[in-house]
């Protein structure tokens, strides 16, 4: 058995048989985005690749939360992903940041982060894009390997993700891979109050907030998601 497969099982990402039904989405569409033209030291690169073309009439609606859809191995209830989808996200994120001598995406609870952050109402366009991309990844896996993405070997997963990465710059596939990478890194390196970066393993890997390094992290007990929810409604 491939060690990664064993780890996946040990971490308990169960494979559910079928994705939960969703309203049909448009096929992955061409995305148009522009790299931010400027610097601003800290990189106010809003969501990296997400300056999507979108009609302004189509205002983001708050997510209708039908209650928890699944459960993460740590017991956290998921609201964006079904258990099946969560397993695909987990497998994919772990290929972006695999555990080696240092912790990987699953060790940091990256899938829990992605599930939660995509519940932010303003992030609906991103949520839709991510779920579309995830479905496309699963379809491609079935077509290429006759198995779901979370069931193929890590080498096959890498092959498939590389195929997405090398797709034409503005294709849905390339867009999804970039989204997956960015969200995985956010979940690995963001404030732990968002559900990822468990035990600050990401910060330790990058040397952020470690003894003798340069920046201070938020205080204990800080609630990032609450601030994010309230940002823009300060009065």
């Amino acid at each position: 058995m491939h060690p990664d497969a064993a780890k996946r099982r040990a971490l308990g990402y169960a494979r559910a048989p079928m994705p939960r039904a969703r309203p049909p989405r448009q096929r992955l569409s061409r995305r148009s985005f522009i790299r931010r033209l400027t610097f601003l030291g800290g990189g106010v690169v809003l969501l990296g690749p997400l300056a999507c073309k979108r009609s302004s009439e189509e205002a983001p609606k708050p997510a209708v939360d039908p209650g928890p859809l699944g459960t993460a191995p740590g017991g956290q209830r998921t609201h964006t992903f079904s258990s099946f989808e969560l397993a695909v996200v987990a497998a994919a994120a772990e290929r972006i940041l695999p555990r080696d001598e240092d912790p990987g995406a699953l060790d940091a609870d990256v899938p829990v982060y992605i599930d939660r952050i995509l519940q932010t109402p303003e992030m609906q366009p991103m949520r839709d894009d991510f779920l579309e991309g995830l479905a496309a990844l699963e379809r491609r896996s079935q077509r290429m390997f006759q198995k779901g993405f979370s069931a193929i070997t890590p080498a096959e997963q890498d092959e498939l993700l590389t195929l997405f990465k090398d797709s034409p710059p503005r294709s849905g596939e390339a867009h999804f891979l970039e989204l997956l990478t960015v969200l995985t890194l956010e979940g690995f390196l963001g404030d732990p109050s968002y559900g990822g970066n468990k035990g600050k393993v990401g910060w330790r890997l990058m040397g952020f907030d470690a003894v003798g390094t340069i920046a201070m992290a938020p205080p204990e007990g800080y609630d990032g998601p609450k601030c994010l929810r309230e940002c823009g409604v300060h009065k």
Partner: protein
């Protein structure tokens, strides 16, 4: 329904709006400040990269309030977050790095000193450095600037020292000093809008390393939110209204500005009449507001009879290289690399003007040295790369581990961005923001001279970095533009046919309308312009207070 009339309504609370609010409030006039963003308090500024740098805490979302950006008139518009500055009380001064350079006398006389440039619409300023200098002094004193003036060939005259001594710097600054000395260049302490000592009741810098793109929870960064705005409100004459988005400036039958129509924080449309209206929403957004303020008198936008509103858009020309020092390799030679000091604060201005005519136009610029920003997500997404050359998996983790072992020194170029007929702001009626207001559409066509000069400056900066013998040197950009530094869209001048504003930043066509953000600048200079915008606003305020007391500007 219309609200009671006030003396002055100011739209925007950043580097341009806040000095006006303070000075007019001090002079006893009733002022309302409309600010589209929220009023964050120091406790709202947390070192949370996701909140601060990757969501809409400061910048609007591109699907809610896009800017349309294209390269050249034949390009296709893309929705972008480019050319926004922070949407909150204090505007861009909240998340600025606070590099508080002054312009130099030559910047006010670029065309007459260096000559016309084919393909560029550069013009001299109608005022001189000497006229602005007292207001630089005032802005430095009111906002709080830490620095140390040293003599060098392009040093601008100063009446005295900076209000505060320079911030402590990392030992690497000494190495830059030595490298520059060997080359016969001048390593200058960079003045910062960050207070190094307690000042006017504000606490000094805590050296946390998160300045740029963050708000300062200490209040040590001299954003207007921490300095001028509280002082303005304390006059008792200034009412600050956050969460209020201006839609249009309305005019009366005589063509004078009458009121501002805005959407308040509850989404209700309000009308605020005022005797004088001051627009200060950034060069892009102020142009948008005027162009959207159409009337039978001003069919193509307020104060735009000349057709010049939105034209002559100027950003700042950007270049950058990064030198990486591997701590493990440098441990013996440079044990002090581990020093956590966040500031390098060194600049080179020996090439503010080029040594000769080799590139056709002799304007160069400034090099500013700094550590790369410590934001880990930003760093990691950079390490991952994008497109087909992106990496993931072990390759990405190896890069992240190497990053942990690194300190990365970089410089940024602030180069002249020449105005061209091809760089301008318009409005795009078919694309509206979440308020239903047509959005700004930006077209950029760089002048080739800029790019050559910026590359020249990048090469000079690399000479310095190479003398420090880094383990790696990487050129990041020689052809970028810094869109948070924006100017020119309502240029000022003495001729109403070639400028939008007069020398006091009053619209030629509307006697009680002022624009005081970077829009007035016919050339942008080769330094970040924040301090210049604030200084000019103090200058305009001084004029306006006098005029109002004489009953001129309001038409008596």
């Amino acid at each position: 329904m219309s609200l009671p009339q006030v003396d002055i309504c100011i739209i925007g609370s950043g580097a341009g709006g806040a000095p006006m609010a303070l000075e007019l409030g001090r002079a006893g006039f009733k002022v309302v400040v409309l600010e589209k963003g929220p009023h964050y308090r120091p406790q709202d500024f947390v070192h949370d990269e996701i909140l601060n740098s990757r969501r809409n805490f400061f910048m609007p979302l591109p699907w809610e309030e896009p800017h349309l950006v294209r390269k050249g008139a034949k390009g296709k518009y893309e929705r972008s977050t480019a050319a926004w500055t922070a949407n909150c009380v204090g505007g861009g001064t909240v998340h600025m790095s606070g590099f508080f350079y002054r312009l130099k006398p030559v910047d006010f006389r670029l065309r007459s000193t260096l000559g016309a440039v084919p393909g560029s619409t550069i013009a001299d300023w109608p005022i001189s450095y000497e006229e602005l200098a007292p207001f630089y002094d005032k802005a430095e004193q009111e906002l709080g600037v830490s620095g140390q003036a040293v003599a060098h060939p392009f040093a601008e005259p100063r009446s005295g020292p900076y209000p505060l001594p320079p911030l402590d710097v990392h030992p690497v600054a000494g190495e830059i000093d030595n490298a520059c000395k060997v080359m016969g260049w001048h390593s200058l302490p960079t003045a910062r809008g960050i207070i190094s000592r307690p000042y006017k009741g504000r606490a000094p810098c805590a050296y946390c390393a998160l300045c740029g793109s963050y708000g300062c929870e200490m209040g040590a960064k001299s954003g207007t939110n921490a300095s001028l705005i509280p002082a303005a409100v304390a006059t008792g004459n200034v009412q600050l209204r956050p969460g209020c988005m201006a839609r249009t400036v309305e005019v009366d039958k005589k063509g004078r500005a009458r009121s501002v129509i805005y959407v308040d924080t509850d989404g209700v449309t309000q009308e605020q009449p005022a005797k004088v209206i001051v627009v200060s929403c950034t060069a892009v957004e102020s142009a948008r507001l005027l162009l959207n303020s159409t009337s039978s008198r001003f069919a193509s936008g307020l104060a735009n009879g000349s057709g010049l509103v939105g034209k002559n858009l100027i950003f700042s020309s950007f270049g950058e290289s990064q030198a990486t020092f591997r701590m493990s390799k440098q441990a013996e030679k440079r044990p002090w690399l581990k020093d956590p000091g966040p500031f390098v604060n060194r600049s080179i201005q020996d090439f503010y003007l080029m040594p000769d005519e080799r590139f056709g136009f002799r304007k160069g610029g400034t090099l500013g040295f700094m550590w790369t920003h410590p934001n880990p997500i930003h760093a990691a997404t950079g390490l991952a790369g994008s497109g087909a050359s992106a990496v993931f998996g072990k390759a990405l983790k190896d890069r992240m581990r190497a990053y942990r072992d690194s300190r990365i020194l970089q410089f940024e170029v602030y180069g002249e961005f020449l105005p061209t007929p091809g760089s301008y702001v318009g409005v795009e009626g078919s694309v509206k923001d979440k308020y239903g207001i047509p959005v700004a559409a930006i077209t950029v066509e760089r002048h080739p001279t800029d790019l050559v000069a910026t590359r020249f400056l990048v090469e000079r900066g690399e000479e310095v970095l190479l003398r420090l013998e880094p383990d790696e040197l990487k050129r990041t950009s020689t052809s970028g533009e810094t869109t948070i530094l924006q100017h020119g869209t309502c240029r000022f001048g003495d001729d109403a046919a070639t400028s939008v504003l007069d020398r006091n930043c009053r619209a030629h066509e509307v006697p009680n309308l002022y624009v005081v953000d970077g829009s007035f600048m016919p050339t942008g200079g080769s330094v970040p312009s924040t301090l210049t915008i604030a200084a000019n606003s103090f200058r305009v305020a001084s004029h306006l207070v006098r005029a109002l007391k004489q009953g001129v500007a309001s038409g008596g």
